[in-house]
Structure formats: C-alpha cells, structure tokens
Amino acid sequence: MPLYHTDDQAMLAETVTGFIADEGAIKKQLRRWRDENCQDGFGHDLWRRFAEMGLTGMLVAEADGGLGMGHTEAGIVLEQIGRNLTPSPFLTTSVMATTALAGGSDDVRGRWLPGIVAGQTVAAMAIDEGAKHRPERIACRAEKAGNGFRLSGAKDFVVHGASADVLIVAARTSGADDDDAGITLFAVPKDASGVSHDNVRLVDSSMASHVKFDAVELDGGAVIGDVDGGRELLGRVLAAGRAGAAAEQAGVAGGAMDMTVDYLKQRKQFGKLIGEFQALQHRAAHLYSELEIARAAVIKAQQLLDANDEGAISQRAQIMVSVAKAKAGKVAGLAVREGVQMHGGIGMTDEYDIGLYMKRDRALAEFMGDAFYHTQRVAELSGY
C-alpha cells in the first residue's frame, strides 16, 4: 500500500480540516474553556458536533453502529485537533476506549459504544500510576469478590478523568506488580461508589485526575475481555493511543511551524524581513525536513496497525509505533521551541498563540510515553 492517503482519506481530511479549523479554533475552544476555568477542560457541544460528523464512532465496528475505519483515518482527525489545539476527548474516547471495548463482550460493547457513537459518552483511560508512563508495572488491584471484583488502588494523570462517564481501568487481578500476566481491563462507570477524583489543571489547560478506587464493587459486566489475560488488549489500546498521540503531535508541530514561517515573512528588523536572515532560514528548513520525516513515520505506523487490527500486533508495527511517538515527540518539541524563539519577545506573551503550542506539546509529550521511553522501547524491541 502506498504511503499516502487514498482518495477517500484525502476527502475525509478535507472535510475534517475545515470543520476543526472552524469549530475547534483556539479562540472558540481552548482559550474559552481556559478563561472560563471550565473543570472539564473541553466543550460538550463540540463533542456532539463530532458525533454529527460521524467522527466519534469512526473506529467502532459497523456491527456496533460505527464506521469501522482505521488508525489512519483517526490520525487525520487527530492531526487537525493538534493543529488547532482543540481540547477534545477524541483520543481517549474514540481511539483508545473504543479499541479497548472492541475486545469486550456483546454486553459491555452494547452498554458503552452507543453513547460514545452518539457523542453523549466520554471515556477516560486509567492506566498510568505515577508521573511517568510505565504500563509494564500495574499495582492497582481488583480482587475477586462474589460474582464480581473489588477494585482498590490509584491511577494518576487520567486525562478527562473527573468528567468522564466511564473509566477504562487497567488493573491487576493476579500476580505481582511487574508481571506481564494477570492484567484485566474494566469499564468503571462514573457513579460507582468508592471512586474519588482529585482533578488538577495541567500546563496546557487540560484537566487530569488523580483517581482513587476505594474498594469499588464491580459486577462481572464491567470486565472487558479476558480476566487475567488483558495484557494483549492493553497493548492494542496503548498502540492506538501512542500512534494517535503521535499524529496529534505532528499536528501541533505543523501548526507551530506554519505560524512561525508566516511570522518570518512579516516581521522586519534591521530594515529586512527576518525571514531573509540565513540563520533563521536554515533552522526553518531543518524543521520542515524533520517534520516531514515525523509525518512519514506516523502514517507508516498507522498503516501497519491497520494491517493487523485483529489479534496481536506485529513486531514491526510495535517498533514503528514507538518510532512514530519518539520522532513526533522530538520534532514537535523542536517546532515549538523554534516557534517561540523566532517570535522574539511576543512569543513569550499569552496573547500570541505560539506559547499555547509549546504548552500543549509538553503535555502530549508525556501522554502515552515520551520520546525517551519510546526510544528505549525501540532498542528493546530490536534486541539490544
């Protein structure tokens, strides 16, 4: 398959680009919710508009009422979300939670997917336990209790956690904290008793929750997939989230770069446009090259994931997903740093958007593993 968008994907991109640039614009969404101190960190009206556009259920199987599309299509949406810094539960809900739920029974799918597709349900991913992404270690425990489970422990930095209608929780049902086996995924409803949130605002104005589970009683219907055998499904969820976050970072980088290159063509100093200075030209050209490469890595990862959406993810896809997240992370970091620097003093002001790109990138860098984590993973998967 050629490494560019098919005609259908290009059409989707055109629609989505216009839609998000308009309704998801920085002024209408990010600045508004930030300035209103909104505790959800995103707008529910826009989420319903995503549903009307058919985006919320794009990864949901047609049999479950979705569009049955792939990671490449989801990436198209995420790139635009990134470019416009649009606060949205799309990545956690429509990419990660739907991937998790797809591995569940008819019951659990039937309970949650219709709401997601309709834009009424928001899901959050409760995986990390600590400040750094480290899903190899899961200490949060769910013990068998009667016909169900009793969940105890904590999850950290659960994006949209406090406002989500359902938390997808990766918990340990057997074994030691670092074991590969013994993981089970659960769909924990918002109102389950014993769930409490410490909702915090992050540097990018998004909201994340430190969630505590205090002997939360769950019936068997909360289980997604196999008890104790959730590692593979979790792997699929992580891969979807990582490839998605990489696409969003490529979008952030693209937005920051375009804004900066435009600025180089407007600002005059020393009687010249600053874009005439070779010191800046070469850095901009270098950034362009790096960003093109990051985009290629992202689409390659998406295509490899789409090529094996059933069953285990191939080794090649695993490596490429980490390559994509690492590369997009490094390049987006470069883009926002160069962006602020080349804007000079105004790059430091709240009034200009370039600083918002820097903040968003910082949060995305941590989400689902930073460039260091994924570089290390590439080495390990390659056998050294």
């Binding site: 050629p2 490494l3 560019y4 290159v261 180089l264 063509k265 010249k272 446009l273 874009g275 005439e276 070779q278 030209q281 070469h282 901009a284 050209a285 270098h286 362009y288 090259s289 790096e290 093109e292 490469i293 990051a294 290629a296 890595a297 689409i299 390659k300 490596i319 490429m320 980490s322 390559v323 994509a324 690492a326 590369k327 490094k330 460039a371 994924h374 570089t375 290390q376 590439v378 080495a379 390659s382 056998g383 050294y384």
Partner: protein
C-alpha cells in the same frame, strides 16, 4: 490472487532462479559494485551473470519503458521489485550514473533517437558515464561555470576545466555543462554528451581522505563535440542540469531504502559485545531517526511515482538522508573502537569501516551541499524571502 500478487510471485520465482548466491551477500568493498562500461572488469562470473540476466529482462532499469531497455514496470510493480530484492538481500545488478542521473534527464529532454541509442546502452551497462558539472571556481554557485564551447558550424570546440569529476578516469562518456553564450548566465549553458576518448580530453586523479581516488580534474583542450550530441535546446542546458540534479539528490539521499536507512543498534551491540549505556542511547536515537527516515524514503518514492509531493522535495531528502548517513558512520566507528581504525589489514576488509566513514563526509557535499539544500528548501518550499 490480484495482479500485483501474481506479479510478486513471478518476480520472486525469477529472483530465486536467477540471482546467484554471491550476489545476495552485502556489498563490502568497491569492487563488489558493478559499474559496467567498456573497461569494466567483473570481479567474478556471478557478477557478470547477474548483470546479464537482469539486462535481458530490463531489470537493471525496471521502470523505464521496454523500448529503451527497461521492463516497463508500473510504480506499484517497481515497488514490488524493490521489496523482493530487499527480501533476499540482492545487490543491485548495475550501479551507474547513466541510470541514476543521465537516464531520467534523457527520458525527459532527449530526442527519440538519443533515447533509443543512449538509454539502451545504459540499461545494458555498456557505457559508463561521468558528470562534468563542477569547476574550480564554480561549486555551489554552479551557474557561474566557465568551460566554453565555441560554435564551429557542425560542431563545438570545447575548452576549460572541470573538477571533482567522479570516475572520470574510468568513464567512457561524459555529460557536461558547457557555456555556449557568455552574455547570458542562466540561458547560456548547454548540456553536451561526448566520448572521453575524444582528442583533447585528459584527466588527473585526486586522492581523497579515504585513501581512494575515485575522482579527477578533467581538462578539455580543443575538444570537438558534434552538434547532435546536445540534449535539449541550445543554451537551455540549465533546465536539463537542474532536472538531473533532482535525480542525483534523490539517489544520494538513499530514499530507495537499503543499507542507508536500516537500523544499526542491534548489529553494533553484537559486533562489540555490548556498548556503553550512553552510546547505546545514541544508537537507539539513531535507530529511531533511521526507521523514521526509511518511512520517509518509502513515502517519497511512492509520491514521486504518481507526481504527488513538492517538486523540490528531493533537496529535503538529500539533506536529511546524507546527514543521517554521516551519523551512522560516526556510530559505526564509535562502536567498533580501535578495530575500526585498521586501515589496510585483511581482517578489516582493507580498512572498510574507516574508509567508508571518511567517504560519507562527502555525502553532504557532493550533488549540492547541505547548506545549499537548506537554501533551496527555504526558498522553494517555505517561500522565505531573499534566499541567497
């Protein structure tokens, strides 16, 4: 089975039957590369047989039209060909400036007669070409070149000097930029082809830091070039030259995949029985960049074949690919330690690590320097003002 899968099966069977085992070994030294040409000495029968079998099927230039010596493959088929070659580690049957540079320019600008004549020769590896662009005073600023062709009716008389002419002493013919109008800088250059055995052509090899001597100073002293050996219109050679440079840059970029885009961390760790943690980290970062670049190469090639992508993109590929390749060889040296310093011992394949490391430093100079690539990106892609 789809047509493409059937095609893949056919290619696989053909390679299985025709690619000799020796030609599935990695290229280690310069004489492992088959350059063709009048004077070429094959290293062994396998090398000769591999070239001949491929040439007979048009596989030395798979996507050229059949009438010009190619196999007429579509973009998708040519990709299958590359993939199947890579799968068995097959060497390319013929390396040639004719294939990478002159051929594409002839396909676009050559007359029908020129195409039939020269392209078939190139495809069969009969004529080895060299490139006469750079001059002592005209490197990055190529358009300032001074080599002059005086109009003598049915021929030109060429005088001047070229430099850095790769393989000039081994080449049979040269494609050469010659000023034919002193009054017009850009529209005063013509693109000429001539035999290196023409009276008045002489070469003087230049020794490189790698200890090899693949390039020369090339002198023209009243060289007669017949008028039918011009490609494109008179004084419009700059268009041909630039188009050719696009292909040269694509070739140097390593976009086509292979060794230049592979990850190396695992092999380096094996080779040195484990490396220091900070070096390991650099290898891992390199692998991330290399694998990402490999995807870029694949995307670039896919897009080029269907006319997508920015026309100046080969400059970006050249910049990124060559800087990456230099880093690769720095890491090979660091991982190899003192063993990589050996210069001419048998155990080191005649110092191949050190010599390759030094050779790669030229990657970001030849075919246009990295700085010039960045200028072109800034100007043509980012459309920044006042690029010099």
């Amino acid at each position: 089975m789809s047509d493409l899968e059937a095609f893949r099966a056919e290619i696989r069977a053909w390679l299985d039957a025709n690619c000799p085992p020796e030609m599935r070994e990695p290229v280690r030294t310069e004489d492992d590369v088959c350059w063709g040409g009048r004077e070429f000495k094959f290293k062994n029968d396998a090398q000769r047989q591999w070239l001949e079998s491929c040439a007979a099927k048009g596989y030395t230039v798979p996507d050229w039209p059949k009438e010009y010596g190619g196999a007429g493959m579509s973009a998708a088929e040519a990709k299958v060909w590359r993939e199947e070659m890579a799968k068995i580690g097959a060497r390319i049957p013929l390396s040639s400036f004719g294939i990478w540079m002159l051929g594409p320019a002839l396909l676009k600008f050559g007359s029908e007669e020129q195409k039939r004549h020269y392209l078939n020769q190139i495809a069969r590896g009969e004529i080895r070409w060299c490139q006469g662009y750079s001059e002592p005073g005209s490197g990055s600023d190529l358009v300032s070149l001074q080599t002059y062709g005086e109009d003598k009716g049915d021929h030109w008389v060429v005088n001047g000097q070229k430099i850095w002419t790769s393989y000039a002493d081994k080449a049979d013919w040269i494609f050469c930029l010659v000023r034919t109008d002193k009054a017009d800088k850009y529209q005063g250059i013509s693109f000429l082809l001539f035999d290196m055995q023409s009276p008045g052509v002489s070469t003087k090899p230049i020794l490189l830091i790698s200890g090899n001597s693949p390039f020369c100073e090339t002198f023209f002293d009243n060289v007669k070039v017949p008028k039918d050996q011009i490609v494109g219109p008179l004084n419009r050679g700059w268009d041909v030259a630039k188009y050719l440079l696009g292909h040269e840059r694509e070739m140097i970029s390593g976009a086509g995949g292979g060794d230049r885009t592979a990850a190396i961390g695992a092999a380096m760790n094996r080779m040195s029985g484990g490396v220091d943690p900070i070096l390991r980290a650099e290898l891992a970062q390199f692998d991330v960049d290399a694998l990402a670049y490999a995807a870029m190469g694949e995307k670039f090639m896919d897009e080029v074949k269907v006319g997508k992508g920015h026309p100046a993109k080969s400059n970006m590929m050249k910049y990124a690919g060559t800087e990456l390749n230099k880093r690769r060889h720095e890491l090979v040296m660091a991982s190899g330690g003192s063993a990589a310093l050996e210069w001419d011992s048998e155990g080191s394949d005649g110092g191949s690590k050190a010599r390759n490391w030094l050779r790669t430093k030229a990657n970001s100079i030849e075919g246009g320097t990295s700085e010039v690539m960045l200028n072109v990106i800034a100007k043509r892609i980012l459309e920044l003002p006042g690029v010099s």
